[in-house]
Symmetry: C2
Subunit: 133 residues, 2 copies
DNA sequence: GACAAAAACCGACTGTCAATCGGTGGCTAT
DNA sequence: ATAGCCACCGATTGACAGTCGGTTTTTGTC
């Protein structure tokens, strides 16, 4: 019985992903060096997290000599879109009105500039859409 | 050891909320009548879910005679805004650019009309903002 | 080829949380 | 008083992240 239908990541998993996006491909040791010390967790823990991320298809890895080097399977933006999309899908069952309202609401309380940014980007996307049609 | 930073609801809990938003205040029995049968769960299970929802502050309740009548503590839209906002906050640590990009991306793949809707609503909100300033 | 170091892997344990019931005990209306 | 209804408590299950310890595998080096 799946508690939540949307597969959301944990805190450490997100931190690892962020690290990978920032630093590009890295091995477990490098990631641990950056965020393991602060958190007081072992290299092993970081390894486990990265392995799970790999199993979920979020990290690609390749063996360099005998060690793994991981890299994000999705771009930061793709992942964000995916995640937000999942939540939105589970929450508002595909109802565009509600979705739009939620977006605007969130953007609004993030600051007025955000709304303007949103507007600008939309204009951009719509232009692109029209052209490609 | 918090598994996920965002407190997201379960499947049943969401269904209960949806039901309450649709039908207005109801007691556990009524909710169970609507979605318990299909799911093959007992009234008791629905009661538990509603109680948890109440403890989380998402359902208000008042005792009518000896039974509780529950009603949503937040409007549907408020809740959606809240939930999406939480996820966005945890995911993109307050970076407006990424947020905007994600919104547009999700809206885009929800259909082209959605983008237009979003645009319209934004124009609306910005007008309102300007007026109130 | 043997060996030490490094890293991956496996398995276990913990904490949290939703879902799900059963049983118990308290009101309520008759 | 008493039969029902219903809330509450507690227990169980299942999932999943975080966290390690211990074991095995791989490698580079004498």
């Amino acid at each position: 019985m799946r508690p939540t239908p949307w597969g959301l990541l944990g805190e450490l998993e997100l931190a690892v992903l962020d690290r990978l996006w920032e630093a590009g491909e890295s091995d477990a040791k490098a990631v641990h060096a950056k965020l393991g010390r602060r958190r007081g967790i072992t290299l092993n823990t970081v390894q486990s997290a990265m392995k799970r991320l790999h199993e979920k298809g979020l990290l690609a890895r390749s063996k360099i000599s005998h060690a793994f080097v991981y890299s994000p399977a999705l771009g930061r933006d793709d992942f964000h879109r995916e995640a937000v999309g999942d939540v939105v899908a589970a929450l508002l069952h595909g109802e565009a009105d509600a979705m739009v309202a939620a977006f605007v609401g969130v953007a609004e309380r993030a600051g007025d500039d955000t709304l303007a940014q949103l507007e600008a980007l939309i204009a951009d996307r719509r232009k692109a859409t029209r052209r490609s049609r």
